[in-house]
Symmetry: C2
Subunit: 293 residues, 2 copies
């Protein structure tokens, strides 16, 4: 192992807050004065998470929306954000995008930091939310017998990315302006076993949820809805940035939002967190996007 | 105006949380279920805030310590931190420094994000603390008649920086491993008018506190203790990274920690937040370190 997952393994050796959930989750949970806070921090790096010539307003939108998506997956409502901003070109467009995303999701700015540096530039965002349901859903709550669901089509961001490359800004919207499913997450929180947002590709995130839950996820490759031609199903299930919600719940659950069953949680199969069309998958290599190397 | 202060002026036009304190403070304040949280986020950038060949353990220490210093200035006790980490060389040394600083200040890791990118690399840190005294001290609470104090000598970090350049790691400690004055901040919180940590140079931070308070600070240039030869007083009062506390309180206050009176808050003098040895200072240019571009 190298890169991100190796580093996170090393981080687990540090003094962790109980609410850090062993660093197995996307968010931390902090109980304070009768309230439960949900906290998340993500960075976006030029050339890695966004293109140098991308509209800074879209970068600002994505920075906030991806963190709010983490709150959505925990059923939390946003309380505010802290922004780490690296000065550079076109601050006005960045601020315009920041204003739009904060207004759209009724989220106030709490503060942050402004620094010089780059290229490549990088931005950080910390989102703070209030849990609307406790226990706060985690990645690790899936139990054998549960059905596995996704809230919507995969591959929409990939299609949007290709539209952006082709200069079609309107068709690029799903890539440029991801939508955090805050209302859906709040509605689902009381009835899910495990829940997370799909940021790095469906199959990789399924793998991670299965590992965190100590179970095996049997997934039917043809089941997830996709936003691309059927010939590109393979890519649609591996590309990230869609921010649909992945969750487990009873197969008889009366779900409050539309969702598609994509498989079933089964008893842990030695060394294979994922069964894809019945074939055990023993390595996460090639399942999605990760910062390895 | 350009750079950092211009950007922050633009940020003030966004929907701000009341606890953002108009972005005039180093921290945000969030009241939740009977508790008051204090939140801060800072970034460190390679080549700007740390040297490329600096020990990564010292970089990790500084990343956490500077944010805990912001909590100290609000009288808050650390509840946990979120780390934004950019992968690169020598993760083990970074983790060692992270372990040391978290253990020293009894602060657990809550979570964070790991990304690829750089050079230059950048790191982010969000610190969450619990207020031990409300109202939480701000930069804006100074009132005419108050005395102005600092908790210790300025210029120690500059001396440490020069020692590091000369290869003397031990003498470089004040630069390599800044100390957040958490106990001092908690003890002072109930009796201060305004309080902040000195991160960008005494005179610039005095200027900022005076502006936030709508007052003028009359400072005696010879009063602050310095950690450099008297011939270098000018630099000692302008160099950053010392993390002493700057605060205002009654001149008759029975202070719980050692501090030196460096001047007095007076009625606002038009256009001059700072009176230095009786001379009005009308521009913050050259008073300390700022990220102007």
């Amino acid at each position: 192992m190298s890169g991100e997952s190796a580093f996170i393994d090393l981080l687990r050796g540090l003094p962790l807050h109980p609410g850090a959930r062993g660093l197995d989750d996307d968010t931390a949970v902090l109980e304070l004065g009768g309230e439960t806070l949900v906290l998340t921090h993500d960075m976006l790096v030029e050339g890695v998470h966004f293109l140098s010539d991308q509209d800074p307003a879209d970068v600002a939108w994505k920075l906030v929306a991806t963190n709010l998506s983490d709150l959505a997956a925990k059923g939390a409502e946003p309380a505010g954000v802290l922004v780490g901003y690296m000065l550079g070109a076109d601050e006005a467009r960045f601020l315009e995008g920041l204003r739009e995303v904060l207004a759209t999701y009724d989220t106030p700015l709490l503060g942050g930091d402004t620094v010089s540096g780059g290229p490549p530039r990088s931005f950080g965002l910390t989102a703070i939310g209030r849990a609307t349901h406790v226990p706060v859903p985690s990645r690790s709550g899936a139990r054998p017998g549960d059905a596995i669901y996704v809230t919507g089509p995969l591959g929409a961001a990939l299609a949007g990315f290709e539209a952006l490359q082709a200069g079609d800004d309107a068709a690029a919207l799903p890539y440029r302006r991801p939508v955090p499913l805050l209302a859906e997450g709040r509605a689902l929180a009381p009835m899910v076993g495990a829940m997370m947002d799909i940021s790095d590709g469906l199959l990789l995130d399924v793998w991670r949820m299965a590992q965190a839950s100590g179970a095996t996820f049997a997934v039917d490759r043809s089941a997830p809805p996709i936003a691309l031609p059927e010939t590109r199903r393979c890519e649609a299930l591996r590309w990230g940035d869609d921010y649909q919600l992945l969750f487990t719940a009873s197969e008889r659950a009366d779900l409050p939002v539309p969702a598609t069953t994509i498989g079933r949680v089964v008893a842990p199969l030695d060394g294979a967190p994922l069964l894809l069309d019945g074939e055990p998958v023993r390595s996460s290599e090639g399942l999605g996007y990760s910062h390895e190397g």
